[in-house]
Structure formats: structure tokens, C-alpha cells
Symmetry: D2
Subunit: 93 residues, 4 copies
């Protein structure tokens, strides 16, 4: 798929940044940093994870769901249902 | 669209139930109910609103987004982007 | 409690505004408004509900939790646990 | 503070588990795993981060906020406001 490698590298960059945030949280706990500052960093990591999820979901809708809906039928319906369930899990996590 | 009227009635039923939950919250505040019980009811109303949104989104993907992706091109991309942005707003609200 | 009546009126104002948003959603569904516009309104209602919950929680911490922690002991611990559980439900709803 | 070391170790255990989930996500992206499976793992990491935050917040309310409210006055109010703001950021992240 054209451009796929770029997207994959962008995803990895995001995930490495999030891994860095989690390691930053470990250092903050280790150094007895103030709770509220740790919570602010947790919110930042959560937002970064959600942004990664939204980017992935957009890609998934543009490719997998779009392909399934072009074919139509039960497969299309199943793909849309599967995406909606994934969104519901995200919204609630 | 076949079945559309049923879906619309189901949406209205959900929204009337949520309206009832909001009025229930007004009575709880009026009657000085315990904060934690009010918060539990807020969580229930929020979940109900999110479920309504997911149902609407599933329908939107199955119809509008699917139709746009069948045609392809810039319109398809725009519809997918628009849906992803709506999901991002939901996740963050 | 000084100022309590004002707070109660402010809560009721917020809840009436949210009730108005839910009725607005019913009209949007009735008039077959565009899905994405309905979802934007759902996000707004969700945010308003969350803001109401945070205001209530702040009050609860400033009064009930503070009073319990002044007394200390098992009652204090129970109040803090109860508030943390309510926050967990909010975060996940 | 009695028991503090245990709590700190428990926090570090949670954060290392979350770091493992993030590295798992990197492998899933690397191996071109199915989007929906990656999203499920994102939701799990998000929930784990939220649970860590709630545990931290409970501790913060039981110690820092409780201590401030025992003293009372402007400091108490400021601590409660600070905690409420942190909760608002969490709910929205």
C-alpha cells in the first residue's frame, strides 16, 4: 500500500514517545514527585494513546472498512459493527 | 431507506430516557440527595449518551461513510476524516 | 451552610441547560439532521454533564470528605474510598 | 509514612506492566497486526493508566488533601480545587 511505511514509522514514533512518558512516570514515582504533577503526566500519556488510537481507526476506516463496504453484504455489516465496538471500548477506557 | 423509521424511533426512545435521567438529577439536587448517589446517576446518563452516540456512529459508517467510500476519491477521504474527528471529540468529552 | 442555596441554584441552572441540550438532540433526530452535527451536540452535552459532576465532586470533597478526614479513622478512609470509586465510574462513563 | 514503600512498589509494578503493554503495541504495529486487535490493546493500556491514576488520587486525598482540610482555610480550599482540576483533566483525557 502506497505510503504505508511512512504511516507505520509515524505510529512507531508516537508509541516510543508514549513509552518515554511511561518511563517518565516511573522516575516521578521513584523521586516522590508531587501527586498532582504525576496525574498531569498520566493525562498527557492518556491523550497521546487516544490520539494514536484515533489515527489508527481513521486508517482502518479508510482501508479495511471501505473495502468491505465496497463489496457490501454481511461482511460489510460485520466490519462496521466491529469498528463501532472498538470505538465503544475506546470511549469507555 | 428501509428500517429507517424504526431506527429513528429507537433513537428517540433512548433520548427520552436520557431526558428522564436529567430530570431525575434535578429532583435529586432539589431533595439534597447524597452527592455520591447523584454522581452515580451522572455516570449512568453519560453512559447512555455515549451508547446513543455509538449507535448513531455505526449507522453513519454503514450508510454515509460507506456510500462515500464506494465513490472513492477526495469525498471518501473527507468523510472518513470527518467521522474520525467526531470520534476524537466523543473520546475526549 | 453559607452559600449553599446559591450552589444549588447554579447546579439546577446547569442541569436545565443539559435538559435543553437533550431536547435539542430529539429535535435534531426528528428533523433528520446530519449525523456528525448530532454527534457534536452529544459531545457538548457529555462535557456539560462532566463539568456538573466535577463541580459536585469538588463540593463533596470540600465538605463531606473534609469533615470525615477531620474526624479520622475508618470513617475517613471509607469516605475517601467512596469518592475514589465515584471518580473511577466517571472516568469510565 | 507507614506502608509508603509498599504503595510505591505497587505503583512501579503497575507502571512497568503498562510499559510492557506499550512495547507490545510497538510489536503489533511492527508485525502488521490487525487494527482492531491493536485498538483493543490500546483500550487495555488506557484502562490500566486510569486505574493507576485513581489509586494515586485516592492516596492523595487520604493524605495531602486530608491534611490540608484538617488545617482548614485558604490552603484547604486550594488543595481541593487542585484535586478537582486534576480529576477534570483525567475525565477529559
Amino acid at each position: 500500500m502506497a505510503g504505508y511505511t511512512d504511516t507505520k514509522q509515524e505510529h512507531q514514533r508516537r508509541l516510543r514517545r508514549i513509552e518515554g512518558q511511561i518511563r517518565g512516570l516511573q522516575r516521578m514515582v521513584e523521586d516522590d514527585k508531587y501527586c498532582i504533577d504525576i496525574l498531569t503526566q498520566v493525562s498527557a500519556a492518556n491523550s497521546a494513546l487516544q490520539s494514536f488510537a484515533i489515527a489508527l481507526l481513521e486508517e482502518h476506516m479508510a482501508h479495511c472498512v471501505a473495502e468491505a463496504t465496497r463489496k457490501g453484504g454481511a461482511e460489510a455489516q460485520a466490519k462496521v459493527k466491529e469498528a463501532a465496538d472498538a470505538i465503544a471500548r475506546l470511549v469507555r477506557s
